[in-house]
Symmetry: C2
Subunit: 106 residues, 2 copies
C-alpha cells in the first residue's frame, strides 16, 4: 500500500515562514503547509491547477487581483497560470493540491 | 475567485453512512466525507487516481488485498483501477481527492 504519515515526512521551508511536507502521486502533489503568522508569499504563477484547503488559521489570499480572507473549511480553486499571492494573518495549516505533479517540489 | 465553503455545500449520502460534500476543479474532484461509525464501503475500483487524507477518526482501508488501519495524518495513494474497500472503525472525516474529475459525482 502506498502509505504516508505526514508527521514522519521532513519539512522543507521553501519561502520564509512557509514549511511544507510533500506527498506525490502519479498525477497530483499534496503540500501540507505549516505557516508562521505574518509570513508572506510573493505573487507568482505556474501551469498547475492548485486547490487550497484551509485547515486552520486565517490566510489572506489574492488571485488575479481579487483578495479574500480565508478560514478553516474554505476551499479556493486557482486555475492554471493565475497570478496568486498570500499572507498568513495568523499561524495557518493549509493543504494545497496540485495537478499535474510539482516536479520542482520533489 | 473560485471560492467554496465546505459547510455551505449540501451533503449527499452515496453509500449508507457515507455523506460527502463535493468540490470539482478542472482536473480534480474533492470529496469531504463524514462517515458514521461501522459504515462499510463495498469493494470497487475506478479509473481515477485517488488520494485518501485521514482528517479524523479511524478507518480500516483495504487496497488490492492489503488492509491497514488509518488515523488522522495518514495519507494513502490508490492507483487507477485498484480494488479498494473500507470500514469506519469510529466516526471519521476523510478528504478524498480524485484525478481526473469524478463526472459521476457532479
Amino acid at each position: 500500500m502506498n502509505y504516508h504519515q505526514i508527521d514522519a515526512i521532513d519539512a522543507k521551508e521553501l519561502v520564509e515562514g512557509f514549511k511544507a511536507r510533500f506527498v506525490h502521486g502519479e498525477n497530483m502533489t499534496f503540500a501540507y503547509w505549516d505557516i508562521a503568522k505574518g509570513a508572506r508569499l510573493p505573487s507568482h504563477s505556474h501551469v498547475h491547477e492548485q486547490v487550497v484547503n484551509m485547515l486552520e488559521g486565517r490566510f489572506e489570499l489574492t488571485v488575479d487581483g481579487e483578495t479574500r480572507l480565508l478560514a478553516a473549511g474554505d476551499v479556493v480553486i486557482i486555475p492554471p497560470n493565475a497570478e496568486h499571492a498570500g499572507m498568513a494573518v495568523t499561524q495557518c495549516r493549509i493543504l494545497d493540491v496540485f495537478h499535474p505533479v510539482r516536479e520542482d517540489y520533489r
